[in-house]
Amino acid sequence: MGKRVGMEVSIAAAEVVGLCDVDVIAAYPITPQTHIVEHLSELVADGHLDAEFIPVESEHSAMSTCVGSAAAGARTFTSTSSQGYALMAEICYIASSMRLPIVMAVANRALSAPINIWNDHADMMMARDTGWIQTVAENGQEVVDLILHAFRVAEDHRVLLPVMVNLDGFTLSHMIEPIILPDKEEVDRYLPPYKPKLRLDPQNPMTFGPVGMPEVYTEAKKAQDEAVKESKAVIVEAWQEFEKQFGRSYKPVETYKAEDAETLLLTMGSISETAMTAVDKMRADGQKVGLAHLRLWRPFPAEELVDAVKGAKALAVVDRALSLSGGCGPVCVEVKSTLFDRGLSPYVQNFLAGLGGRDVTVEDFETMVAKVGDGLAKGLPMGYEIVNARE
């Protein structure tokens, strides 16, 4: 039945990777991901986990090792953050294009400069167009659940894509809180052994990652795009199976008190919990406010988003990474294009908040909702603002 434990979220993440019978871990430590990798290394060194832990000299090598390992048919895990992701990025495209089911936990952190080790979503937004599936956790339990889910989805023969599980750096990675860790038998029931569809084998030689001339590259990308889009059905199915077995429910877009809401906050990641508290407070004041929060970032859950927000007159979309000088932040870009493509045109304001570890408070959410209400009433132009930047 699993056991309820008080545990640092990073340690719990490593524990569940261990329970998943991972074969190969290749990773390089970087703040704030370090505890995940440290603990996995400990598990292997102490003989609790029968896996190869490959200590590499950079994140570029970490992902390169993962590509080789996954191509050879091994269940493969890595973890990184921020600058580490930036160095790894080149190979991340290769991993997804070669359809290798690697699972990676990213402790989300800002990108330099100025040097900043704290939480925002710059790294996961850099990963946006790599073709990785991306799920987003809001608390420690979800980190554990989503890692387990990630292996099942990645290795499904209808998917065969790498999955990135995002957890907010420090805010989640360094948090001690109650977590229900599944037991081995439960994990085995949910996650079948990995059976590669194609793999490197000297007895049956194949070429992985050949040249794609202009005559074939377009088709290769079309096939990949379809694969990422089609993965959504399997992602949802795996969540439904998860709910049946573990009783915890996950959806691509989740809502909180959104049914009759006129104004909706739209968030992603751990600030969603703070936003719920803000919604409770504003509801108590009689405001018709609700929350929609994204659990799935890639493939982008367009239909689910429409269902979640179609009744709202105004949206306050929170982004935690900038698309400098673009029309708005990356989440808001998706929201606007999804809604406007379908003829929905609520009033949308974009708030760039929680950059580089700046706290996002209940009060901040109240201010956003007030600003959206004001903008809608006065017909102010839609756009974005960087929240709490000192003048």
Partner: protein, 182 residues
């Protein structure tokens, strides 16, 4: 929901105090969060750690701005850190000091309810090191009852292994000796 802020110096165990408090609360079936003031830390520099304890699931990831309880692990911090910052009028400060409640109030200009214990002496005599994390937990328990000593036993055992018993002794002695303002 209760919020607690621990003030210590890097290496003194403030973060461990916070962690043990949360683990004990979770052991009791409650919900809890423990987290450090995120970022690089230096031995000896003032550091903070935070705890939330609640009977319901905790749905916030804000920093702790107005703790109901403050624990000061090192008396020298009173001169350089505003340990009372954000504490509501009915909040309580649990301080490691050789001073009495009255002396402390006068000397440090504190206005909230106080609890005092000479944790440094207890730690030196019991543990042979001036690390006051488990000792101050005894004081916190006496002053607030936010967790129980029984619930603390498991997490302390796991964390300290062979020196767990000594830490629990220090905790218990602090519990006995802490003076809580009425």
């Amino acid at each position: 929901m209760v919020e607690i802020r621990f003030h210590g110096r890097g290496g003194q165990g403030g973060v461990t105090s916070a962690e043990l408090t949360a683990l004990a609360a979770i052991e009791e079936g409650k919900y809890a969060q423990a987290f450090p003031s995120f970022g690089p830390e230096r031995r000896g520099a003032p550091v903070m750690a935070f705890v939330r304890v609640s009977d319901q699931q905790i749905r916030t990831r804000e920093k702790v701005y107005s703790p109901n309880m403050v624990v000061v692990l090192d008396p020298t911090l009173l001169e350089i850190v505003d340990v009372q910052a954000g504490v509501p009028d009915d909040g309580i400060l649990v301080v490691n000091t050789k001073m009495s409640v009255d002396e402390l109030r006068k000397n440090a200009g504190l206005t909230r309810r106080l609890a005092v214990v000479d944790a440094s002496t207890i730690a030196i005599e019991t543990l042979r090191v001036p690390i006051t994390n488990t000792t101050m937990l005894g004081a916190l328990i006496k002053a607030t009852g936010v967790i129980s000593v029984d619930a603390l036993r498991g997490p302390v055992q796991k964390r300290f292994g062979p020196i767990a018993e000594k830490n629990l002794q220090a905790c218990m002695r602090a519990y006995e000796e802490t003076v809580v303002e009425g």
